[in-house]
Symmetry: D2
Subunit: 354 residues, 4 copies
């Protein structure tokens, strides 16, 4: 794999900083520029630090942040990772694609476009082919998006179970960490000792996105998955890690051990390709009676590069056609920047970044 230069957009935000973290020493990608809004121009990473659990390299800390300039980025970078806020992401990402840059975005702006893959490499790697229908593709530019953080965490187990047994109804209730709202995000007066049973637009995103991602690609179009999906979303006083309560109705009634095997044995293309950010085991099944927990399981995955990239499930209990379980994933790693980096790795491995 030849190394290539990449840009990080939204470098001062929670997701942007996770990109910077994951790209330190990355085997495919070299960071050629960190970009954010005008307001942050000239500041160094050290001055806008937001991540508590990662010790950045000295060189990273000294890197300056520039104002976004599409032409400059297109001149210097083959790839752009976008952690831009939704209100400005749409236009800039499109401009970059038109300028020939491959954009891997965490923003929601383009997620539901027919010609844009909403990609989780373990779930729907084939959807990457959709980029061929983007107008900008012949010039080398295209957009790939990753899903909402609360959707990403449950997509791999749902994929494994739908493939194996067929899902009929999926009921999800979320316990979402405050880092999912970015910084400054949730005011402490709202969440200390409290639960907020509302996250604007989240449930709608989850319901749309999961059916697209678990859908099948037929004649260049995604045919939506056909189970019923219902989500109730809530914010909880936790820093990192989205916990999700899942109650599933199957078409058939598999045995519990079959379900466990389908989950823990789940492997997909990123594992076969040994993509650098792919966890060896995408779904970890815990047997303890009180797992997964945010503080214990958010960083599941191999410590070197796939830290925080595995989904942990636990408390599997079956009754007739129903399965109850809890799932947990790191919302700004697996459900944010890590998802985009893995998407780019898949694109590189499949030859889309030449």
């Amino acid at each position: 794999m030849r190394r290539m230069d990449v840009a990080v957009l939204g470098a001062t935000g929670m997701i942007g900083q996770r990109f910077i973290q994951l790209l330190e020493g990355h085997p495919f990608f070299d960071v050629a520029g960190l970009y954010a809004s005008e307001r942050s121009e000239g500041k160094k990473v050290a001055q806008v630090l937001k991540i508590r659990d990662h010790e950045f390299n000295r060189e990273t800390l000294e890197t300056g942040i520039r104002q976004i300039d599409v032409h400059e980025i297109a001149r210097n970078c083959r790839v752009a990772f976008s952690g831009l806020p939704a209100d400005i992401a749409g236009g800039i990402e499109q401009d970059l694609a038109e300028a020939g840059v491959a954009v891997f975005s965490n923003a929601s702006s383009h997620r539901m476009r027919d010609d844009v893959p909403l990609l989780i490499p373990e779930v729907n790697p084939g959807h990457l082919e959709l980029v061929r229908s983007q107008e900008t593709f012949p010039g080398g530019g295209f957009i790939v998006t990753n899903a909402n953080c609360s959707t990403t965490g449950i997509a791999p187990p749902l994929k494994a179970l739908d493939d194996a047994f067929g899902l009929e109804i999926v009921c999800v209730s979320t316990y979402q960490a405050v880092s999912g709202a970015g910084y400054p995000g949730v005011p402490s007066l709202d969440i200390l000792g409290n639960i907020l049973p509302f996250i604007g637009g989240e449930e709608e995103k989850m319901e749309r996105e999961i059916l697209k991602m678990l859908g099948t690609l037929e004649n260049g179009e995604v045919r939506l998955a056909d189970f019923d999906f219902l989500a109730n979303c809530a914010r909880v006083p936790v820093l990192d890690g989205h916990l999700e309560s899942m109650i599933l109705t199957f078409e058939a009634a598999p045995e519990l051990h079959e379900i466990e095997s389908a989950l823990s044995g789940f492997r997909a293309e990123p594992q076969e390709l040994e993509l650098p950010t792919a966890p060896v085991r995408p779904i970890i099944v815990r047997q303890e009676e009180n797992r997964p927990q945010p503080v214990l399981d958010a960083y599941a995955g191999e410590p070197e590069r796939a830290r925080g990239m595995a989904v942990t499930v636990g408390r599997l209990r079956k009754k007739d056609r129903y399965l109850k379980l809890f799932a947990l994933s790191h919302n700004t790693l697996r459900g944010g920047a890590g998802g985009s980096v893995l998407n780019a790795e898949l694109a590189a491995a499949r030859g889309f970044l030449r």
Copy 2:
């Protein structure tokens, strides 16, 4: 209504202290004795205070706590309110019933007995008749239980909706406050910035209890309700107030406004009898996009006596045969001591305490 003397058992615990609070100035009941285990004998209420949101009367604070003595209680009290821990509640409550005392218990020991009503006056007042089949009834003694705190909060809305439209599947995911585990209860090291997706025995209790309470009394026996009920329980870093995410499947597909009317218009026997601890509106439907919240809605209900006795529901969203909503109730008032006091008021009003 003639006033009568009552005992509080488990007076040093979270539930016991809620009993004491609710019985201060009660129009039917006078506290004739506070009882707890040997360890607390001789202490005053002021020395074992656990409740933060209520200012006790000076007289209450000076009251001494005695060791439980069945004979003494039977001699002095017509009624005993029990907030005893499950491991000792069963025997003591039975002894009291045999000694002629009417026991209103918050413990789980006798809840599933065929001849013991699991009573929420707004939901299944008729089940009170079950006590007539208890062996001790001719002597004036009997046991009435109230449901688990997480079950109690969702029973009234489920009752209203099942009666009106017929329920097929009920999926509940809980966000339960730490006061539900008593004191010392949940260690801070386990719950600060964390969610515990496990509460021992809770889901089993919920699943059994809801079907009994929403069941019908036929020939002196409870016939269980016949919808499917599935619960995932979790503990959250909140002091008071259980929030519950509910995703319901109806037999038919009512309109949203019909659902709202069925909930907000719900009234039952306690409201008709104007029992002192009964909220005027048992179910409050909030229209705001971000309610109910524990810190804002746990104490819903009329401030004088029914504070914390109303259930608040919000975020009602309908899709086909599904309804999504959140419910909130105060776990040690409506879901604990308040439930037992209301049960006793119903029993008094119906003449069971003569």
Copy 3:
């Protein structure tokens, strides 16, 4: 006392809403208008609610908020209570004074002016006379300020002890609640499970203000108190109630019982005048080994009107010339709006509002 009309400025903020709360049913003052920035114009109180522990009257909830208009306020109101943010408070408050309005402000803008009293009625009621030297006084307009929230909580005990025994060095370390930073204020990502050992400008304010308030009025000028005062300020994950650790060095070495008497027996002009918002006991001395605590003591004071207006001290330990103790006060009641209302009551009682 003839009733008079008053305005609340900054009605959508944490302090402004405490003003509204305290003025509901006030025996001296009628709210004639709620004012805030242009952005909130036309909204009702019910739409901008921020206070969790007070149930507002229905009438209050329906009151509309207007854009600040100095002439309108001057036409209608004898008094204005200001909870404006510091960046705009200075000019508006001065304009109101010039238009003949008596302004009682919680903002820091005018606090250190030589002709503006920095007033705590229990501490330095005589400083109210300073308003006579304000240029606007002949026209009926003047400005009175109250101190910073962390200063207010310790001023009464320091006054009581300095008067009785003479203070030499005062070392204070604060544990300040997030409500002190207003709304949205402190981001949850910064404070969940964390302590922030920095509050911008707070230590400087405390050091300046305490010496002015405990100073003496000589020939129309405040002579600063002459003990050394040192403060370290920190923000903690608590909603309401500033706890402060105090380590004092006395000039002499009083006995502990003398110290306790000086604190618990402390009474001042507001108590003699029986001002409606004045606590009967301004300083409550707790004997328990683990008090004061924010959740238990923030609302100390008589429940009717002086709720949250008393300062609680505890853990008094003496060694040689040193005294160690903890003090607690409600930062937006005693340390915010309640302080201003009490100032206005003093001004009314002394005839400054005729």
Copy 4:
């Protein structure tokens, strides 16, 4: 250095598990046995895990825990690390010393004995010589203790400053993490959204211990340091990391830059000997306006082995003879097990463990 076998006592507790963590792959010590009370006998480490931020080796997780047996330990181990609770530590540690074992204890039982060093290698390495006066020393057994967690964090900066400029008065107010109380420790009902201004015995320990540790060894006896030391201790809702507010009065009035140099340049015997658990920089001086913070600075120190062993100070502000600052240290690493391990390394390097 010849490797030697060691035992860990109290292996199921918070401190015991930190010992296990620090001894994984230790260059001097091999864990030959994990010991705890009868209740835990036969359990594996994996079943009693309490530490969230360290991933234990698979071999460690599988290690079984045995009941404490002084003879067995003495037969197999040259050294015992004790994280035993205070109520049983005293006797067992003395028995081990008599059986010839070198005991490095985190318990308070023997700390104030005249012949027991209360040791922080950076502060008073010479005090190690005290063990020569222990009766058991000729047989190879002796006891070395480390200080209370809140004392340890401030001892190095106080040592540096006292040596350089002479301290007169030290006022400390603590913000102590819940892990300092062990497990289950602080009930969540007491600390969620609250501060507890009391930790039993803590202030007394701090006041005694700091004067002993900063005292001088003269003729085999410790002469206590002679500045005045005053501590107010409080528990805060933070998991790990004790923050401490310090207000110091110097004998002279050094310049701020001299103070900074004295702190950041501080080095001692562990640094000269390059002991494996010693941080290269024992005191880190932060220049940011809002540091140190528990979540950002608790794990300061070199990541390999001295993680959590450095003390971080910040917000240094000088006025006349006063210095205000904040200090932070990890209470179960630097202030607990890490301190004992470093003590043992010093003893090994100085030849006390032959």
